[in-house]
């Protein structure tokens, strides 16, 4: 299993309404790696993630995940979207949310089976929400909600975990807990996370991918002020713009 290439992106370009978002991106993510995608807002981080998920088909270039088309590889991918567009009054319990991660298998209809419930209990245990599993999702705190959505991503036992801005809306304590959880998960799966938060990146990450239309890959230890300036600082206005938005909601 090790050394299998999890994600292979070659010469991918993508524009939206004639506005280029990704330009000639080539990137390989190996099995077992912990990769963090950083970059300014609007630089294309989320777009890159959506390309890996097959939600966006790039105009040029090829994308394979475990050697397959992204759509075909989805059963092996666990995904946590960026604060998803969830109606907080939606009547679901934590367990109901997590169980939806078991759908999409070969059975197109019908109820959940015992193995689904077992997998859900396991995932809830892992994210430390087992005792809250029958609570309404809407009554969870921000950090618990984040963990529930990670649980939903884990319940199909993926090989590749993609997280979009998992640190948004978390305080320092919750960030540390998330850190611990991701460290444990990385022992058995490839983890790719998108973050605007460079501080969160450094400890766990082996590889940092900087996205600003083009992509530059650095080993985590080589992230120096020069690299950061290269990525964010060529244009001072750009930096300021980023800080304005990064304090609140990243898009």
């Amino acid at each position: 299993m090790r050394n299998e290439t999890a994600v292979d992106i070659r010469n991918v370009s993508f524009s939206f309404n004639a506005h280029p978002i990704l330009k000639d991106v080539t990137l390989a993510i190996e099995t077992g790696e912990f990769v963090t995608i950083v970059g300014p807002n609007g630089g294309g981080k989320t777009t890159l993630l959506r390309v890996i998920l097959g939600l966006i088909r790039p105009a040029t270039g090829t994308v394979t995940v475990y050697g397959m088309r992204p759509e075909s590889a989805r059963p092996r991918i666990g995904y946590m979207p960026q604060h998803p567009q969830v109606d907080l009054r939606f009547p679901v319990r934590v367990i109901d949310v997590v169980l939806t991660g078991r759908l999409g298998g070969p059975r197109p209809f019908g109820g959940y089976r015992r193995e689904d419930h077992e997998a859900a209990a396991e995932a809830l245990e892992e994210v430390d929400l087992l005792d809250l599993s029958h609570q309404p999702f809407s009554e969870l705190s921000g950090g618990q909600r984040q963990r529930a959505l990670i649980g939903r991503a884990l319940v199909a036992r993926p090989d590749l975990l993609l997280l979009d801005e998992p640190t948004a809306n978390l305080d320092v304590m919750m960030e540390r807990e998330l850190h611990e959880l991701l460290k444990v998960l990385n022992e058995r799966m490839t983890v790719v996370l998108v973050s605007h938060d460079l501080g969160f990146v450094s400890n766990l990450t082996q590889k940092v991918v900087c996205v600003k239309q083009r992509v530059a890959t650095h080993p985590a230890c080589e992230i120096t002020n020069d690299v950061i300036r290269e990525m964010y600082g060529r244009d001072v206005l750009m930096v300021r713009h980023d800080h304005d938005e990064a304090g609140g909601i990243d898009s």
């Binding site: 998920l53 939600l55 759509e71 989805r74 059963p75 991918i77 995904y79 979207p81 998803p84 567009q85 969830v86 109606d87 009054r89 939606f90 009547p91 679901v92 319990r93 109901d96 949310v97 169980l99 939806t100 991660g101 759908l103 999409g104 298998g105 197109p108 209809f109 019908g110 109820g111 959940y112 309404p136 939903r152 199909a156």
Partner: protein, 286 residues
């Protein structure tokens, strides 16, 4: 007051009306809950009004051309499904602004119905009962159709409950899990169309949207799970239609508007009560 119960024992039409209300409530509670959580009540409104096109066309064929099989109920089902399909496909594929399309389907359906009815002999008395409902006109044969539509809606909702929940809760995640999001969206609109037809028989085209959403909205205040919300909203809907018939009978009020006014009052009371309670809880926590 006793007049209602005496009449109930005496008249089939009143028993049919009562049964129609209860049967329609089953589909109404299930589908209404999906409509509320998925926020597609405006689509349900568009489908409801387009039903007049089908009813008008059927009546025209039946009375002006003598096609006996063209029952208004059949016309309503066809028009509702067609409207649902058009709204669904356009919003999925064409990337047109959805509310514009719904508005267009809404008005074109009404206009079609009115044109057909204008050329149908003796339509005048029917129009009002289609627009505002006349549950007392439900025939025994209609009850079987209602029960059949109920069965279709229930079967689909039970078989696909988890998928419909997943798609309604987080569409993008459902797509990444490999769920055919488009199929379930169209299925939901189809089920909404069938339910709308049932409710048209109870409260009429114009008032459908209230009966579809209010019981679910009331139930939503007391439910932590979608399935519980559905069961509760079936009960609320059955209670409201029954109470509406009961209240309207003696003073000879039109039943459709009476049901809707009762529903509106119930919703207002529940919404205010839960607001007050929320404030009290918030105060306790500070």
């Amino acid at each position: 007051m006793t007049g209602f119960f005496e009449a109930l024992a005496k008249y089939t039409f009143l028993r049919n009306a009562l049964l129609t209300g209860v049967l329609a409530s089953v589909a109404c509670g299930v589908v209404g809950s999906y409509v509320v959580v998925r926020r597609i009540s405006y689509i349900a409104g568009g489908i409801a009004h387009s039903v007049l096109g089908g009813i008008g066309a059927a009546l025209f064929l039946q009375r002006a051309l003598g096609w006996e099989w063209a029952d208004p109920l059949l016309g309503a089902v066809v028009a509702a499904l067609l409207a649902a399909f058009v709204i669904g496909i356009v919003s999925l594929r064409v990337k047109e602004r959805v509310d514009t399309v719904i508005g267009a389907v809404w008005a074109i359906g009404m206009a079609t119905g009115l044109l057909f009815l204008a050329k149908t002999p003796g339509y005048g008395e029917d129009l009002m009962s289609y627009l505002f409902g006349n549950i007392l006109m439900v025939r025994t044969v209609d009850l079987w159709v209602i029960a059949g539509l109920d069965a279709v809606v229930l079967l689909a909702a039970v078989l696909f409950h988890n998928q419909l929940l997943a798609v309604s809760f987080d569409e993008e995640f459902a797509r990444v899990r490999g769920i055919n999001v488009e199929f379930y969206y169209l299925l939901l609109l189809g089920l909404t169309a069938l339910t709308v037809v049932l409710l048209v028989m109870v409260v009429g085209i114009v008032l459908v949207i209230a009966l579809l959403t209010i019981p679910a909205a009331i139930a939503g205040h007391f439910s932590r799970r979608l399935s519980v919300m559905m069961a509760l909203s079936i009960a609320v809907s059955a209670a409201l239609t029954t109470a509406g018939l009961f209240v309207s009978y003696d003073p000879d009020l039109p039943s459709g508007p009476t049901i809707i006014i009762l529903a509106g009052v119930a919703y207002l009371v529940v919404a205010l009560a839960s607001r007050l309670r929320g404030r009290r809880i918030a105060r306790r926590h500070t």
